[in-house]
């Protein structure tokens, strides 16, 4: 393992970790502004985390080691997954980056969250877990199809390779990527539990999915869970950004270029976050059982991409 990789391994997750509360905060702010409220400060999420880290942990008497272990595993798998999407620069070695493994690592993180939701025996947790699993099951074909579309367009299954290819060309050489981009955007919405799929703001029984599932988590454990969701969102956003607009990504690691790339990425990320916030504000929550229709759009687009690519 050379220094390039070492830097990457440390830096990429850290970048996601640090940036994710900001992204979350920005989305909230954007939404608040559109609703005509001042909204919380952009940095509110950081305060939130600090507060949580100082609170006590409350466990249910009925819970087992699962609920205790879940958050660790969740964040660990999430951060591992974040290694797969270069956010600042593209490393040279290639043992990570497989797009399928990337998505499955995220599922693994989710799997332990779901078990955590079931552990306490609370009805809320059960309901949240059940819905989370449902949504993630039916979005999976879309996800894999988008992966396939990416692979078909860029002729590789490694995410860093994809980015490298993209950097070498221009968006005009891969027009179909716009379609994939829309798919990825939908996946992003779904995976980060946003309107119209989920409503992160409420704990109402009718709408809640993700938030209900983590209801029994508390204190630092909740912070870990929140962080993990944040990282998930950030990483997916990074993927979307780099697929549709990779420029600014550093090909090689040098101190200056790294800094530049990091800033560029952060800016792009914030723009996307604002878009997400806007998007969320424009749409109403979809009924739970209408979700498959919504996902079908993404599936269709990925499929169209593949067909396009095949006929080209």
């Amino acid at each position: 393992m050379n220094w390039n990789t070492a830097v990457y391994i440390v830096m990429n997750p850290l970048f996601a970790l640090v940036l994710s509360p900001l992204v979350l905060g920005l989305i909230k702010t954007v939404k608040a502004r559109i609703q005509g409220r001042p909204g919380p400060p952009v940095l509110q999420q950081y305060y939130q985390l600090r507060k949580l880290f100082h609170k006590e942990i409350v466990y249910s008497e009925d819970s087992s080691f699962i609920v205790r272990l879940g958050p660790y595993l969740g964040i660990a798998f999430m951060l591992t997954a974040s290694l797969f999407v270069p956010m600042v620069f593209i490393p040279q070695t290639g043992w990570f980056g497989n797009i399928i493994l990337f998505f499955y690592l995220m599922i693994t993180a989710k799997f332990f969250m779901v078990l955590g939701g079931l552990d306490a025996g609370s009805t809320f947790g059960g309901m949240g877990s059940s819905r989370e699993m449902t949504v993630s099951s039916i979005i999976e074909p879309v996800t894999i199809m988008s992966c396939a579309a990416l692979a078909f367009v860029l002729k590789t299954t490694s995410i860093p390779e994809m980015f490298r290819t993209l950097l070498a060309g221009s968006i005009f050489s891969y027009p179909t990527l716009i379609l994939v981009g829309i798919s990825l955007f939908i996946i992003l919405i779904v995976e980060s539990a946003r309107v119209p799929v989920d409503n992160p703001e409420t704990h109402l029984e009718l709408t809640m999915i993700h938030e209900a599932m983590i209801l029994e988590q508390s204190g630092p454990k909740l912070a870990l869970v929140e962080l993990a969701s944040g990282v998930r969102q950030t990483v997916l956003m990074a993927l979307l950004i780099n697929v549709t607009f990779p420029w600014g990504l550093a090909g090689l690691a040098g101190c200056a270029s790294l800094l530049l790339a990091a800033v560029t990425m952060a800016v792009k990320m914030l723009i996307l976050a604002a878009t997400v916030g806007l998007f969320e504000s424009l749409l109403a929550k979809i009924r739970f059982f209408r979700l498959p229709d919504f996902f079908m759009i993404a599936l269709f687009l990925s499929f169209i991409t593949i067909v396009f690519e095949l006929l080209r």
Binding site: A76, I144, L224
Partner: protein, 661 residues
């Protein structure tokens, strides 16, 4: 037996393998007979001795097979020539030994498991039968895959079917056994008939019973043999629509047997498919498409059915159907890619399918064993009656969790390690250049993706409902941890699941280098390190910990009844897949008067439509029974009619002969 140094010549190794193989087989046979020796005075000692002998036997055979694989040997052995053409001959090459290892290793663990599991049956005599039947079943399976002739293959295949049939019928007291038995027997026999047909067709074209002799066959014959083989093997492997026996049989049989049936016996038809379709023949494109199509359907429907099931063992059985579907998808893709010369993808698929075969054997038998312990501890198979078991059976629960993660294809465990190979092949199929076929492949890909996350959902539910939260019944709260042997056996398998997952890249590279696969080892290390680091960091916060009741919206003391149930958990997905779970409503009303205005009685029933059973199996069975009824009625007559039959036959013969002359 003395072991010559492995460094010596190849002949010595062959001799070692040979003697290990024979000794192992003989030990299994001894283990079959031993418990039955004193049938009328059953002795525990003999039974345990038999199990130890069986353990040694499976161990020896596995060792032989591993030796063959590691040294790339190719041995031909003959046990017995009934006549010169009908020999029970064996061929130990890499492929067959791969399956021998699977069977041997899983059986090894199953035998360990049985040591204490068998003890919970009441009747002494039935315990002896179970031990003996187990040994015979294992021996038969081992010899099927080792057979080098179609004759031997079918010979041991039938023995395998028969012995497993007896094992399924073992719990004769249970009413559902009859249904399971009838389904299993009929379907198995149907499968055997198709296999028989294809073997005999092969003989017609090649004039030989040798498996590897099937080279120059006319095209139509090849197709016919393929279809017949596919139905034959598909029936045994539980390929939808030939799957219906599987959930019944697996849930009715003792758990050590279901572990073997699901973990191992289902792999035997896979061996057959691989051997015949890929090793012996040069497959056509449409074979691949057929395999892919049925594999995808099987995988998807299998897991959807599994998800709805709340009988623990039935759920696992449906899940086996799903996994077998995945394996068949791999084989189908291999055929397609191989046909178009995409070497890398083809290799990915075939090795992926084989690896998944191994992996499924490991995690599924581990799951069945732990499930068996759970069923034994709670006395029910209904997961709605369970709950909270992880605190009562922590070992079992932990092992089940590993198995569940593996089967849910979560990295870095082995289930994912093999599924990714197939995904990888799908995703890199862009160089195929056949748009229509490609679109078909993408449909398959979507189905496979759905399958694998549904599996995750399914096992999240299974683990959550069985082991987490509060007990939902008295039996569950009184459950006790299983004895050591029943933890050891699935524990070994679970450890292998982790090992084969984390070291999958290294393992595969050993067999075939240059596969475009991710290395799971660093992933595993990173996850471990990150977990550790987070754990340590969190320790630093030194947050106080408090234990309290689960929040229940203000309800003071919640009971197990208020928890989210298994059916509740699966409800959303069931709703999404409404077309699959069609409900059947039956209502009948009777009236006193002919104008249907004064109701007399009415009855109604709503249930899930068991589509394949009610729309496919039952109509066919009914059709056959109708014919059978008609034919039987022809016999329930007086003498006049019998003479009339003879008379008609005589007149017809006279007519026919006159016409012929």
């Amino acid at each position: 037996m003395d072991f010559p140094e492995f460094s010596s010549g190849i002949e010595d190794k062959e001799a070692v393998v040979q003697s290990l193989f024979w000794v192992g087989g003989a030990l299994c046979l001894v283990a079959t007979i031993l418990p039955l020796v004193l049938l009328f005075r059953p002795s525990r000692l003999l039974r345990q001795a038999a199990l130890w002998v069986l353990l040694a036997g499976t161990g020896a055979i596995s060792a032989a097979a591993i030796l063959v694989i590691s040294r790339s040997l190719d041995l031909h052995l003959t046990l017995l020539s009934i006549t010169p053409q009908l020999a029970l001959s064996f061929r130990l090459d890499k492929l067959s030994c791969f399956f021998v290892v699977i069977i041997g290793a899983v059986s090894f663990c199953a035998v360990i498991y049985s040591m204490t599991y068998i003890a919970h049956y009441k009747s002494e005599r039935s315990k002896q039968f179970l031990a003996s039947g187990l040994a015979f079943f294992i021996l038969a399976m081992l010899l099927v895959v080792a057979s080098s002739t179609t004759f031997g293959f079918l010979f041991f295949w039938e023995l395998m079917s028969l012995s497993s049939f007896f094992l399924v019928m073992f719990d004769l007291d249970k009413p559902e056994t009859q249904k399971a038995g009838i389904f299993y027997f009929s379907m198995t026999q149907m499968g055997t008939i198709f296999l028989l047909a294809s073997f005999l067709l092969l003989y017609r074209f090649t004039g030989s019973f040798d498996i590897s002799a099937a080279s120059n066959i006319p095209q139509w014959g090849k197709g016919l043999v393929f279809v017949s083989l596919f139905i034959g093997f598909g029936t045994k492997a539980g390929i939808i629509p030939f799957h219906k026996w599987l959930p019944y049989a697996h849930s009715a049989s003792p758990s050590n047997v279901s572990a073997l049936m699901s973990g191992v016996m289902l792999k035997v038809p896979i061996y057959g498919l691989v051997r015949f379709i890929i090793d012996v023949f040069r497959p056509d494109l449409w074979w691949g498409i057929v395999l892919l199509f049925f594999g995808s359907i099987t995988a998807l429907l299998g897991i959807i059915y599994a998800f709805k099931e709340h009988d623990l063992k039935k759920m696992l059985a449906y899940c086996s159907i799903e996994n077998l579907g995945v394996i068949v998808v791999g084989l189908g893709l291999y055929v397609i890619f191989d046909f178009y010369g995409l070497r890398v993808q083809a290799d990915l698929c075939i090795y992926g399918a084989l690896f998944h075969t191994l992996n499924h054997a490991l995690f599924k038998s581990s799951l069945f064993m732990t499930a068996g312990s759970v069923v034994q501890a709670t006395g029910t198979r209904d997961i709605e009656q369970m709950g909270g078991l992880i605190k009562r059976m922590p070992g079992t629960g932990a092992i089940f969790l590993v198995g569940a993660c593996a089967i849910a294809a979560l990295p870095p465990l082995n289930g994912f390690a093999s599924e990714i190979m197939i995904f990888q092949a799908y995703l890199t199929s862009f160089s195929l250049g056949r748009p229509i076929l490609e679109i078909l492949l993408m449909a398959g890909l979507a189905a496979l993706a759905l399958t694998s996350t549904l599996a995750a959902a399914c096992f999240a539910k299974a683990f959550g409902i069985i082991f987490l939260a509060r007990p939902r019944s008295g039996a569950a709260s009184a459950a006790k941890e299983a004895p050591f042997a029943q933890l050891l056996a699935p524990g070994i398998l679970a450890a292998l699941c982790v090992g084969f997952g984390v070291f999958s890249y290294q393992l595969i590279s050993n067999v075939k280098s240059g596969m475009p696969l991710p290395d799971m080892l660093p992933i595993g290390i990173i996850v471990l390190v990150l977990t550790g680091v987070t754990f340590l960091l969190l320790l630093l916060t030194r947050s106080p910990v408090r234990k309290t009741e689960t929040w229940g919206c203000g309800i003071p003391s919640q009971t197990g009844k208020m928890e989210y149930s298994g059916d509740g958990f699966s409800e959303p997905i069931v709703t999404v897949f409404k077309p699959v779970f069609r409900t059947r409503k039956l209502s009948t009303r009777e009236f006193y008067d002919k104008y249907n205005s004064i109701p007399k009685s009415s009855s109604g029933e709503i249930g899930t439509l068991k589509f394949f059973e009610e729309r496919l199996y039952v109509p066919i069975a009914r059709f056959f029974m109708k014919i059978a009824g008609a034919v039987s009625n022809l016999h329930n007559v007086d003498m006049d009619a019998l003479i009339l039959y003879s008379f008609i036959a005589v007149v017809l013969v006279i007519l026919g002969v006159g016409w012929w002359l």
